[in-house]
Protein backbone atom coordinates (compact mmCIF):
# COMPACT_ATOMS: atom_id res chain seq x y z
CA UNK A 1 0.00 0.00 0.00
CA UNK A 2 1.65 3.22 -1.10
CA UNK A 3 -0.41 6.31 -0.39
CA UNK A 4 0.64 9.11 -2.74
CA UNK A 5 -2.03 11.63 -2.02
CA UNK A 6 -1.33 15.04 -0.63
CA UNK A 7 -4.80 15.29 0.84
CA UNK A 8 -3.83 12.41 3.05
CA UNK A 9 -2.95 14.78 5.87
CA UNK A 10 -6.50 16.07 6.05
CA UNK A 11 -7.91 12.59 5.99
CA UNK A 12 -5.54 11.71 8.76
CA UNK A 13 -6.73 14.51 10.98
CA UNK A 14 -10.39 13.85 10.19
CA UNK A 15 -9.89 10.19 11.02
CA UNK A 16 -8.20 11.07 14.25
CA UNK A 17 -11.06 13.33 15.27
CA UNK A 18 -13.67 10.73 14.45
CA UNK A 19 -11.95 7.97 16.33
CA UNK A 20 -11.64 9.88 19.53
CA UNK A 21 -14.59 12.14 19.50
CA UNK A 22 34.52 37.16 31.64
CA UNK A 23 36.48 38.63 33.95
CA UNK A 24 36.31 42.05 32.52
CA UNK A 25 39.36 43.62 31.03
CA UNK A 26 40.08 47.08 29.79
CA UNK A 27 39.34 47.41 26.10
CA UNK A 28 42.22 47.54 23.72
CA UNK A 29 41.40 50.17 21.15
CA UNK A 30 42.82 52.15 18.33
CA UNK A 31 43.41 49.55 15.61
CA UNK A 32 43.21 50.54 11.98
CA UNK A 33 41.80 48.65 8.96
CA UNK A 34 45.30 47.83 7.82
CA UNK A 35 46.49 46.66 11.24
CA UNK A 36 48.18 43.23 11.13
CA UNK A 37 46.30 40.26 12.51
CA UNK A 38 46.82 39.64 16.22
CA UNK A 39 45.48 37.19 18.77
CA UNK A 40 41.79 37.65 19.52
CA UNK A 41 41.09 40.43 21.96
CA UNK A 42 39.50 39.26 25.20
CA UNK A 43 35.80 39.97 25.56
CA UNK A 44 34.73 43.06 27.44
CA UNK A 45 31.35 43.75 28.97
CA UNK A 46 29.39 46.61 27.46
CA UNK A 47 28.97 48.15 30.91
CA UNK A 48 32.72 48.83 30.90
CA UNK A 49 32.28 50.76 27.68
CA UNK A 50 29.54 53.05 28.96
CA UNK A 51 30.82 56.59 29.31
CA UNK A 52 29.94 58.26 32.63
CA UNK A 53 28.93 61.56 31.04
CA UNK A 54 27.01 62.58 27.94
CA UNK A 55 28.87 63.88 24.91
CA UNK A 56 27.20 67.26 24.81
CA UNK A 57 29.00 68.31 21.64
CA UNK A 58 27.64 65.31 19.69
CA UNK A 59 26.27 66.19 16.26
CA UNK A 60 23.54 64.37 14.32
CA UNK A 61 24.62 61.57 11.97
CA UNK A 62 23.61 63.54 8.89
CA UNK A 63 25.91 66.37 9.90
CA UNK A 64 28.78 63.98 10.54
CA UNK A 65 28.26 62.37 7.11
CA UNK A 66 29.06 65.78 5.59
CA UNK A 67 32.38 65.85 7.48
CA UNK A 68 35.91 65.11 6.31
CA UNK A 69 38.00 61.97 6.65
CA UNK A 70 40.29 62.22 9.66
CA UNK A 71 38.03 64.65 11.48
CA UNK A 72 37.40 63.99 15.16
CA UNK A 73 33.72 64.17 15.96
CA UNK A 74 31.09 63.02 18.44
CA UNK A 75 27.87 61.80 16.88
CA UNK A 76 24.44 60.90 18.19
CA UNK A 77 21.90 58.64 16.54
CA UNK A 78 19.52 55.72 16.97
CA UNK A 79 21.01 52.24 16.91
CA UNK A 80 19.74 50.50 13.79
CA UNK A 81 21.60 47.19 13.77
CA UNK A 82 24.60 45.54 15.38
CA UNK A 83 26.82 42.48 15.20
CA UNK A 84 26.29 40.23 18.18
CA UNK A 85 29.24 40.23 20.55
CA UNK A 86 31.18 42.92 18.73
CA UNK A 87 31.57 46.69 19.05
CA UNK A 88 30.10 47.27 15.60
CA UNK A 89 26.78 48.98 15.04
CA UNK A 90 24.95 51.38 12.80
CA UNK A 91 23.51 54.68 13.97
CA UNK A 92 20.74 56.45 12.08
CA UNK A 93 20.09 60.16 12.24
CA UNK A 94 17.52 60.93 14.90
CA UNK A 95 15.40 62.91 12.43
CA UNK A 96 14.61 59.76 10.39
CA UNK A 97 11.38 58.23 11.72
CA UNK A 98 11.69 54.58 12.68
CA UNK A 99 8.73 52.24 12.32
CA UNK A 100 7.70 52.12 15.99
CA UNK A 101 4.51 53.95 15.14
CA UNK A 102 2.94 53.08 11.83
CA UNK A 103 -0.63 54.09 12.57
CA UNK A 104 -3.56 52.25 14.11
CA UNK A 105 -2.55 48.96 12.58
CA UNK A 106 0.75 49.11 14.40
CA UNK A 107 1.99 45.58 13.80
CA UNK A 108 5.62 46.15 12.80
CA UNK A 109 7.69 43.68 14.82
CA UNK A 110 11.10 45.02 13.74
CA UNK A 111 10.70 48.82 13.76
CA UNK A 112 14.48 49.31 13.83
CA UNK A 113 14.79 48.11 10.24
CA UNK A 114 13.24 51.39 9.04
CA UNK A 115 11.37 49.41 6.38
CA UNK A 116 8.88 52.28 6.23
CA UNK A 117 11.65 54.83 5.52
CA UNK A 118 14.35 52.90 3.73
CA UNK A 119 15.44 55.75 1.47
CA UNK A 120 15.85 58.26 4.30
CA UNK A 121 17.49 55.65 6.48
CA UNK A 122 20.09 54.84 3.81
CA UNK A 123 20.90 58.53 3.47
CA UNK A 124 21.31 59.07 7.20
CA UNK A 125 23.11 55.98 8.46
CA UNK A 126 26.68 55.62 9.71
CA UNK A 127 28.75 52.59 10.70
CA UNK A 128 30.45 52.83 14.09
CA UNK A 129 33.27 50.52 15.10
CA UNK A 130 35.47 50.32 18.13
CA UNK A 131 38.42 48.25 16.99
CA UNK A 132 40.92 46.18 18.88
CA UNK A 133 44.61 45.89 18.09
CA UNK A 134 43.78 43.17 15.56
CA UNK A 135 41.81 45.64 13.44
CA UNK A 136 38.59 43.80 14.16
CA UNK A 137 35.68 45.19 16.13
CA UNK A 138 36.31 44.70 19.83
CA UNK A 139 34.63 41.72 21.48
CA UNK A 140 31.94 43.16 23.71
CA UNK A 141 29.60 40.69 25.32
CA UNK A 142 27.02 41.78 26.21
CA UNK A 143 26.98 45.02 24.26
CA UNK A 144 24.47 46.57 26.63
CA UNK A 145 22.83 48.43 23.78
CA UNK A 146 19.80 47.44 21.79
CA UNK A 147 18.12 48.61 18.64
CA UNK A 148 16.52 52.09 18.72
CA UNK A 149 18.68 53.19 21.67
CA UNK A 150 19.80 56.81 21.32
CA UNK A 151 23.58 56.57 21.51
CA UNK A 152 26.32 59.21 21.56
CA UNK A 153 29.83 58.17 20.58
CA UNK A 154 33.08 59.98 19.81
CA UNK A 155 35.75 59.02 17.29
CA UNK A 156 37.49 59.69 14.03
CA UNK A 157 35.78 59.79 10.65
CA UNK A 158 37.33 57.37 8.20
CA UNK A 159 36.39 55.84 4.88
CA UNK A 160 34.78 52.42 5.14
CA UNK A 161 33.88 49.83 2.50
CA UNK A 162 32.46 51.50 -0.60
CA UNK A 163 34.11 54.80 0.33
CA UNK A 164 31.37 55.87 2.72
CA UNK A 165 32.32 57.71 5.89
CA UNK A 166 32.25 55.70 9.09
CA UNK A 167 33.26 56.43 12.67
CA UNK A 168 36.19 54.70 14.36
CA UNK A 169 35.18 55.11 17.98
CA UNK A 170 37.81 56.23 20.43
CA UNK A 171 36.61 54.69 23.65
CA UNK A 172 33.09 53.90 24.76
CA UNK A 173 29.64 55.31 24.18
CA UNK A 174 26.93 57.06 26.12
CA UNK A 175 23.40 55.71 26.23
CA UNK A 176 21.33 58.88 26.03
CA UNK A 177 17.87 57.36 25.84
CA UNK A 178 16.12 54.01 25.58
CA UNK A 179 12.65 54.41 24.06
CA UNK A 180 9.67 52.48 25.41
CA UNK A 181 8.27 50.06 22.86
CA UNK A 182 5.29 47.71 22.69
CA UNK A 183 5.73 44.54 24.70
CA UNK A 184 5.15 42.50 21.55
CA UNK A 185 8.43 43.74 20.09
CA UNK A 186 11.24 41.29 20.69
CA UNK A 187 14.75 42.60 20.25
CA UNK A 188 17.46 40.34 18.80
CA UNK A 189 19.83 38.66 21.27
Amino acid sequence: MNLRNSSFALTLFAGALLSACGGESAPSVGGSPSAPAAPATPSTAGSAMLLPADLRDAVPVLEALAGQEGQEVAIVGKLQSRVKGRALFYLVDESVPDCTRTGDKDTCRTPWDYCCNVKEMKAGIMLVELRGTDGKPLRVEPLGLRELDLVAVKGTLTKGEGGRLMLLAKDGWFLRDRPKVRSSIKFPD
Partner: protein, 380 residues
Amino acid sequence: MLPLFYALRNLGRRGIRTLLTLVGMALITVLVILTDGFARGLAKTAATSAAPDVIVLVGAEQEFDLIRSFIPEGNARAAAATLPGVKEVDGRRAISLELHVATRKGDQVGTLRGVEPEAFLVHERVTLIEGVEPAGERELLAGRLAESRIGLPAGALAVGRTVELEGLPWKVVGRFAAPGTVLEAELWGRLRDVMTATRRVDVSAVAARMDSPESMEEVAIWAARNRLAYEIAAKTEVELYAGLSETLAPITLLARLMALLVLAGGVLALTNTMFASVLARTREMGTLRAVGYGPLAVGVSLLEESLLLAAIGGLTGYLVAGLFGEVPLKFPMGAFYLDLSVPVRLTGLGAALVAGLLGGLIPALRAIRMPLVDALGDKL
Protein backbone atom coordinates in the same frame (compact mmCIF):
# COMPACT_ATOMS: atom_id res chain seq x y z
CA MET B 1 -2.87 -16.35 40.31
CA LEU B 2 -5.02 -17.54 37.47
CA PRO B 3 -3.11 -18.99 34.51
CA LEU B 4 -2.63 -16.76 31.42
CA PHE B 5 -4.46 -19.39 29.42
CA TYR B 6 -7.63 -18.50 31.34
CA ALA B 7 -7.46 -14.93 30.03
CA LEU B 8 -6.80 -16.16 26.47
CA ARG B 9 -9.71 -18.59 26.63
CA ASN B 10 -12.03 -15.83 27.81
CA LEU B 11 -11.15 -13.74 24.79
CA GLY B 12 -12.18 -16.63 22.57
CA ARG B 13 -15.46 -17.11 24.43
CA ARG B 14 -16.83 -13.78 23.19
CA GLY B 15 -15.47 -13.95 19.67
CA ILE B 16 -17.36 -11.14 17.90
CA ARG B 17 -16.81 -8.61 20.68
CA THR B 18 -13.13 -9.57 20.91
CA LEU B 19 -12.72 -9.28 17.15
CA LEU B 20 -14.38 -5.86 17.04
CA THR B 21 -12.22 -4.62 19.92
CA LEU B 22 -9.09 -5.97 18.20
CA VAL B 23 -9.96 -4.19 14.94
CA GLY B 24 -10.63 -1.01 16.92
CA MET B 25 -7.30 -1.27 18.72
CA ALA B 26 -5.47 -1.92 15.44
CA LEU B 27 -7.08 1.17 13.89
CA ILE B 28 -6.26 3.27 16.92
CA THR B 29 -2.65 2.10 16.79
CA VAL B 30 -2.41 2.98 13.08
CA LEU B 31 -3.90 6.41 13.76
CA VAL B 32 -1.50 7.09 16.62
CA ILE B 33 1.40 6.02 14.37
CA LEU B 34 0.21 8.25 11.50
CA THR B 35 -0.38 11.33 13.62
CA ASP B 36 2.93 10.86 15.44
CA GLY B 37 4.67 10.17 12.11
CA PHE B 38 3.14 13.35 10.69
CA ALA B 39 4.32 15.43 13.65
CA ARG B 40 7.80 13.90 13.67
CA GLY B 41 8.25 14.15 9.88
CA LEU B 42 7.22 17.80 9.88
CA ALA B 43 9.30 18.70 12.93
CA LYS B 44 12.32 16.88 11.50
CA THR B 45 12.08 18.75 8.20
CA ALA B 46 11.81 22.08 10.02
CA ALA B 47 14.67 21.28 12.36
CA THR B 48 17.13 19.68 9.95
CA SER B 49 16.68 21.79 6.81
CA ALA B 50 19.38 24.22 7.88
CA ALA B 51 23.08 23.39 7.54
CA PRO B 52 25.05 24.90 10.43
CA ASP B 53 27.99 25.98 8.27
CA VAL B 54 26.08 27.70 5.48
CA ILE B 55 25.81 31.49 5.26
CA VAL B 56 23.27 33.16 3.01
CA LEU B 57 23.70 36.73 1.88
CA VAL B 58 20.25 38.18 1.31
CA GLY B 59 18.96 41.57 0.20
CA ALA B 60 19.27 44.08 3.05
CA GLU B 61 15.57 44.88 2.85
CA GLN B 62 14.15 41.34 2.90
CA GLU B 63 16.23 39.47 5.37
CA PHE B 64 14.06 36.41 5.93
CA ASP B 65 12.12 35.83 2.72
CA LEU B 66 14.30 34.45 -0.04
CA ILE B 67 11.50 34.69 -2.59
CA ARG B 68 11.19 38.46 -2.03
CA SER B 69 14.87 39.10 -1.47
CA PHE B 70 16.77 40.78 -4.28
CA ILE B 71 20.40 41.77 -4.75
CA PRO B 72 21.59 43.39 -7.98
CA GLU B 73 23.60 40.71 -9.79
CA GLY B 74 26.69 42.94 -9.92
CA ASN B 75 26.61 43.45 -6.16
CA ALA B 76 26.07 39.74 -5.60
CA ARG B 77 29.05 38.81 -7.80
CA ALA B 78 31.28 41.39 -6.09
CA ALA B 79 30.19 40.13 -2.66
CA ALA B 80 30.75 36.51 -3.70
CA ALA B 81 34.24 37.32 -4.93
CA THR B 82 35.32 39.00 -1.69
CA LEU B 83 33.46 36.99 0.96
CA PRO B 84 36.11 35.63 3.38
CA GLY B 85 36.28 32.13 4.87
CA VAL B 86 34.52 30.27 2.07
CA LYS B 87 35.28 26.55 1.99
CA GLU B 88 37.25 25.27 -0.98
CA VAL B 89 36.41 21.88 -2.46
CA ASP B 90 38.85 20.56 -5.06
CA GLY B 91 40.07 24.08 -5.70
CA ARG B 92 36.56 25.48 -6.17
CA ARG B 93 34.97 27.96 -3.78
CA ALA B 94 31.71 26.59 -2.33
CA ILE B 95 29.66 29.68 -3.12
CA SER B 96 26.73 30.15 -5.48
CA LEU B 97 24.44 32.94 -6.58
CA GLU B 98 20.82 31.80 -6.37
CA LEU B 99 17.46 32.99 -7.57
CA HIS B 100 14.42 31.67 -5.70
CA VAL B 101 11.13 31.88 -7.58
CA ALA B 102 7.63 30.89 -6.47
CA THR B 103 6.48 29.27 -9.68
CA ARG B 104 2.83 28.51 -10.40
CA LYS B 105 1.43 25.37 -11.88
CA GLY B 106 -2.34 25.76 -12.03
CA ASP B 107 -3.44 26.60 -8.52
CA GLN B 108 -0.32 25.04 -7.01
CA VAL B 109 2.89 26.86 -6.19
CA GLY B 110 6.34 25.32 -6.13
CA THR B 111 9.87 26.62 -5.68
CA LEU B 112 12.09 27.02 -8.73
CA ARG B 113 15.70 27.71 -7.73
CA GLY B 114 18.22 29.01 -10.22
CA VAL B 115 21.71 27.91 -9.19
CA GLU B 116 25.30 27.85 -10.33
CA PRO B 117 27.25 24.55 -10.51
CA GLU B 118 28.92 25.39 -7.17
CA ALA B 119 25.51 25.12 -5.46
CA PHE B 120 26.14 21.40 -5.14
CA LEU B 121 29.24 22.19 -3.07
CA VAL B 122 27.20 24.50 -0.83
CA HIS B 123 24.15 22.32 -0.30
CA GLU B 124 26.02 19.18 0.68
CA ARG B 125 22.92 17.10 1.35
CA VAL B 126 21.73 17.43 -2.23
CA THR B 127 22.61 14.18 -3.97
CA LEU B 128 21.98 13.38 -7.58
CA ILE B 129 20.08 10.10 -7.60
CA GLU B 130 19.27 9.88 -11.29
CA GLY B 131 20.33 11.56 -14.54
CA VAL B 132 22.77 14.46 -14.76
CA GLU B 133 23.13 18.05 -13.55
CA PRO B 134 21.55 20.71 -15.81
CA ALA B 135 24.09 21.77 -18.43
CA GLY B 136 21.99 22.78 -21.43
CA GLU B 137 19.38 25.46 -21.92
CA ARG B 138 16.32 25.12 -19.66
CA GLU B 139 17.32 21.79 -18.22
CA LEU B 140 15.84 20.93 -14.87
CA LEU B 141 16.71 18.93 -11.79
CA ALA B 142 13.71 17.77 -9.78
CA GLY B 143 13.73 16.99 -6.06
CA ARG B 144 12.19 13.68 -4.97
CA LEU B 145 9.21 15.51 -3.47
CA ALA B 146 8.82 18.13 -6.19
CA GLU B 147 5.82 16.43 -7.80
CA SER B 148 3.98 16.26 -4.52
CA ARG B 149 4.82 19.90 -3.74
CA ILE B 150 3.61 21.29 -7.06
CA GLY B 151 0.61 18.98 -7.38
CA LEU B 152 1.79 16.90 -10.33
CA PRO B 153 1.10 13.17 -10.66
CA ALA B 154 3.88 10.73 -9.81
CA GLY B 155 6.23 10.36 -12.76
CA ALA B 156 5.40 13.79 -14.24
CA LEU B 157 8.92 14.94 -13.40
CA ALA B 158 10.71 11.74 -14.41
CA VAL B 159 14.01 12.12 -16.23
CA GLY B 160 13.32 12.84 -19.90
CA ARG B 161 9.92 14.45 -19.31
CA THR B 162 9.19 18.05 -20.27
CA VAL B 163 7.30 20.41 -17.98
CA GLU B 164 6.11 23.95 -18.59
CA LEU B 165 7.29 26.50 -16.02
CA GLU B 166 7.14 30.28 -16.26
CA GLY B 167 5.53 29.85 -19.68
CA LEU B 168 8.47 27.92 -21.13
CA PRO B 169 9.21 24.21 -21.61
CA TRP B 170 11.88 22.72 -19.34
CA LYS B 171 13.39 19.27 -19.76
CA VAL B 172 13.96 17.19 -16.64
CA VAL B 173 17.51 15.81 -16.88
CA GLY B 174 17.99 14.62 -13.32
CA ARG B 175 16.48 13.89 -9.92
CA PHE B 176 17.96 14.66 -6.55
CA ALA B 177 17.48 13.73 -2.93
CA ALA B 178 18.15 15.96 0.07
CA PRO B 179 16.76 13.91 2.97
CA GLY B 180 15.14 15.81 5.78
CA THR B 181 15.28 19.21 4.05
CA VAL B 182 12.80 21.44 2.25
CA LEU B 183 15.18 21.44 -0.73
CA GLU B 184 13.85 18.03 -1.69
CA ALA B 185 10.58 19.61 -2.83
CA GLU B 186 12.28 22.10 -5.16
CA LEU B 187 13.04 22.34 -8.86
CA TRP B 188 16.57 23.45 -9.76
CA GLY B 189 17.66 25.02 -13.04
CA ARG B 190 20.69 26.97 -14.18
CA LEU B 191 20.77 30.48 -12.74
CA ARG B 192 20.96 32.16 -16.15
CA ASP B 193 17.97 30.17 -17.47
CA VAL B 194 15.82 30.99 -14.45
CA MET B 195 16.78 34.68 -14.65
CA THR B 196 15.87 34.76 -18.35
CA ALA B 197 12.60 32.87 -17.88
CA THR B 198 11.49 35.16 -15.04
CA ARG B 199 12.91 38.34 -16.65
CA ARG B 200 14.94 39.08 -13.54
CA VAL B 201 18.20 41.00 -13.53
CA ASP B 202 18.83 40.46 -9.84
CA VAL B 203 19.36 37.39 -7.70
CA SER B 204 17.78 36.39 -4.39
CA ALA B 205 20.83 35.35 -2.46
CA VAL B 206 24.44 34.25 -2.34
CA ALA B 207 24.82 30.95 -0.51
CA ALA B 208 28.21 29.88 0.81
CA ARG B 209 29.64 27.06 2.88
CA MET B 210 32.13 28.30 5.45
CA ASP B 211 35.43 26.59 6.19
CA SER B 212 35.24 26.93 10.01
CA PRO B 213 32.98 28.15 12.81
CA GLU B 214 35.32 31.15 13.21
CA SER B 215 34.59 32.11 9.62
CA MET B 216 30.88 32.39 10.45
CA GLU B 217 31.67 35.27 12.82
CA GLU B 218 34.17 36.74 10.35
CA VAL B 219 31.42 36.86 7.75
CA ALA B 220 29.03 38.61 10.14
CA ILE B 221 31.61 41.40 10.56
CA TRP B 222 32.39 41.46 6.83
CA ALA B 223 28.71 41.65 5.93
CA ALA B 224 28.02 44.42 8.44
CA ARG B 225 30.91 46.46 7.05
CA ASN B 226 29.78 45.87 3.46
CA ARG B 227 26.08 46.17 4.09
CA LEU B 228 25.68 49.57 2.49
CA ALA B 229 28.14 48.93 -0.34
CA TYR B 230 26.46 45.71 -1.52
CA GLU B 231 22.99 46.17 0.00
CA ILE B 232 23.23 42.76 1.64
CA ALA B 233 22.73 41.19 5.03
CA ALA B 234 24.27 37.91 6.18
CA LYS B 235 22.10 35.25 7.74
CA THR B 236 23.04 31.78 8.80
CA GLU B 237 20.86 29.08 7.31
CA VAL B 238 19.88 28.24 10.89
CA GLU B 239 18.51 31.79 11.33
CA LEU B 240 16.68 31.60 8.02
CA TYR B 241 14.95 28.34 8.87
CA ALA B 242 14.20 29.29 12.50
CA GLY B 243 11.05 30.98 11.20
CA LEU B 244 10.04 27.73 9.53
CA SER B 245 10.23 25.81 12.81
CA GLU B 246 8.23 28.54 14.51
CA THR B 247 5.53 28.42 11.84
CA LEU B 248 5.23 24.66 11.90
CA ALA B 249 5.34 24.22 15.69
CA PRO B 250 1.56 24.71 16.20
CA ILE B 251 0.81 22.12 13.49
CA THR B 252 3.07 19.50 15.07
CA LEU B 253 1.55 20.29 18.46
CA LEU B 254 -1.93 19.80 17.04
CA ALA B 255 -0.92 16.47 15.51
CA ARG B 256 0.44 15.27 18.85
CA LEU B 257 -2.75 16.38 20.57
CA MET B 258 -4.67 14.34 18.01
CA ALA B 259 -2.57 11.29 18.87
CA LEU B 260 -3.44 11.75 22.54
CA LEU B 261 -7.14 12.05 21.74
CA VAL B 262 -6.96 8.87 19.69
CA LEU B 263 -5.26 7.16 22.60
CA ALA B 264 -7.99 8.38 24.96
CA GLY B 265 -10.53 6.85 22.56
CA GLY B 266 -8.69 3.54 22.80
CA VAL B 267 -8.73 3.63 26.60
CA LEU B 268 -12.49 4.25 26.62
CA ALA B 269 -13.14 1.47 24.11
CA LEU B 270 -11.17 -1.04 26.16
CA THR B 271 -12.76 0.07 29.42
CA ASN B 272 -16.15 -0.48 27.86
CA THR B 273 -15.23 -3.94 26.59
CA MET B 274 -13.72 -5.04 29.90
CA PHE B 275 -16.66 -3.70 31.89
CA ALA B 276 -18.99 -5.73 29.70
CA SER B 277 -16.81 -8.74 30.39
CA VAL B 278 -17.04 -8.23 34.17
CA LEU B 279 -20.82 -7.86 34.03
CA ALA B 280 -21.24 -10.95 31.86
CA ARG B 281 -19.07 -13.11 34.13
CA THR B 282 -19.99 -11.92 37.61
CA ARG B 283 -21.11 -15.34 38.83
CA GLU B 284 -18.05 -17.03 37.30
CA MET B 285 -15.79 -14.64 39.15
CA GLY B 286 -17.67 -15.33 42.36
CA THR B 287 -17.19 -19.04 41.82
CA LEU B 288 -13.46 -18.59 41.22
CA ARG B 289 -13.17 -16.76 44.50
CA ALA B 290 -15.30 -19.41 46.28
CA VAL B 291 -12.88 -22.14 45.17
CA GLY B 292 -9.90 -20.24 46.56
CA TYR B 293 -8.69 -17.59 44.11
CA GLY B 294 -8.26 -14.21 45.77
CA PRO B 295 -9.90 -11.02 44.50
CA LEU B 296 -6.46 -9.77 43.32
CA ALA B 297 -5.99 -12.87 41.15
CA VAL B 298 -9.35 -12.25 39.47
CA GLY B 299 -8.51 -8.55 38.94
CA VAL B 300 -5.07 -9.32 37.50
CA SER B 301 -6.62 -11.85 35.13
CA LEU B 302 -8.95 -9.12 33.82
CA LEU B 303 -5.98 -6.79 33.37
CA GLU B 304 -4.22 -9.56 31.44
CA GLU B 305 -7.21 -9.88 29.14
CA SER B 306 -7.21 -6.17 28.47
CA LEU B 307 -3.45 -6.12 27.83
CA LEU B 308 -3.70 -9.13 25.51
CA LEU B 309 -6.39 -7.42 23.48
CA ALA B 310 -4.30 -4.25 23.27
CA ALA B 311 -1.10 -6.12 22.40
CA ILE B 312 -2.66 -8.15 19.58
CA GLY B 313 -4.49 -5.07 18.21
CA GLY B 314 -1.38 -2.93 18.61
CA LEU B 315 0.87 -5.44 16.90
CA THR B 316 -1.58 -5.65 14.00
CA GLY B 317 -1.57 -1.86 13.73
CA TYR B 318 2.27 -1.85 13.89
CA LEU B 319 2.44 -4.30 10.99
CA VAL B 320 -0.21 -2.51 8.91
CA ALA B 321 1.56 0.86 9.30
CA GLY B 322 4.75 -0.81 8.07
CA LEU B 323 3.06 -1.57 4.75
CA PHE B 324 2.41 2.09 3.90
CA GLY B 325 5.78 2.73 2.25
CA GLU B 326 6.89 6.32 1.58
CA VAL B 327 4.02 8.75 2.01
CA PRO B 328 4.79 12.27 0.74
CA LEU B 329 2.86 15.16 2.27
CA LYS B 330 3.14 18.82 1.43
CA PHE B 331 3.00 21.96 3.51
CA PRO B 332 3.12 25.62 2.40
CA MET B 333 6.92 25.87 2.38
CA GLY B 334 7.80 22.42 1.10
CA ALA B 335 7.04 18.74 1.45
CA PHE B 336 8.17 15.85 3.61
CA TYR B 337 7.81 12.13 4.04
CA LEU B 338 5.60 10.77 6.78
CA ASP B 339 7.93 9.26 9.39
CA LEU B 340 6.87 5.62 9.69
CA SER B 341 10.18 4.39 11.05
CA VAL B 342 10.40 1.58 13.61
CA PRO B 343 10.67 3.97 16.62
CA VAL B 344 7.47 5.74 15.54
CA ARG B 345 5.65 2.44 15.06
CA LEU B 346 6.93 1.20 18.42
CA THR B 347 5.46 4.37 19.94
CA GLY B 348 2.11 3.33 18.46
CA LEU B 349 2.47 -0.15 19.89
CA GLY B 350 3.44 1.32 23.26
CA ALA B 351 0.39 3.59 23.14
CA ALA B 352 -1.83 0.54 22.54
CA LEU B 353 -0.33 -1.20 25.59
CA VAL B 354 -0.88 1.91 27.71
CA ALA B 355 -4.50 1.95 26.51
CA GLY B 356 -4.77 -1.73 27.45
CA LEU B 357 -3.43 -1.09 30.92
CA LEU B 358 -5.57 1.96 31.62
CA GLY B 359 -8.64 0.45 29.96
CA GLY B 360 -8.44 -2.69 32.09
CA LEU B 361 -7.69 -0.94 35.35
CA ILE B 362 -11.15 0.29 36.39
CA PRO B 363 -12.98 -2.96 35.50
CA ALA B 364 -10.28 -4.93 37.37
CA LEU B 365 -10.72 -2.73 40.45
CA ARG B 366 -14.45 -3.28 40.20
CA ALA B 367 -13.90 -7.05 40.14
CA ILE B 368 -11.55 -6.87 43.13
CA ARG B 369 -14.05 -4.91 45.24
CA MET B 370 -16.98 -7.16 44.33
CA PRO B 371 -18.55 -8.76 47.53
CA LEU B 372 -18.37 -12.54 47.17
CA VAL B 373 -22.03 -13.16 48.10
CA ASP B 374 -23.27 -10.62 45.57
CA ALA B 375 -21.03 -12.05 42.89
CA LEU B 376 -22.32 -15.59 43.48
CA GLY B 377 -25.84 -14.27 43.31
CA ASP B 378 -25.06 -12.40 40.07
CA LYS B 379 -26.38 -9.26 41.74
CA LEU B 380 -24.03 -6.69 40.24
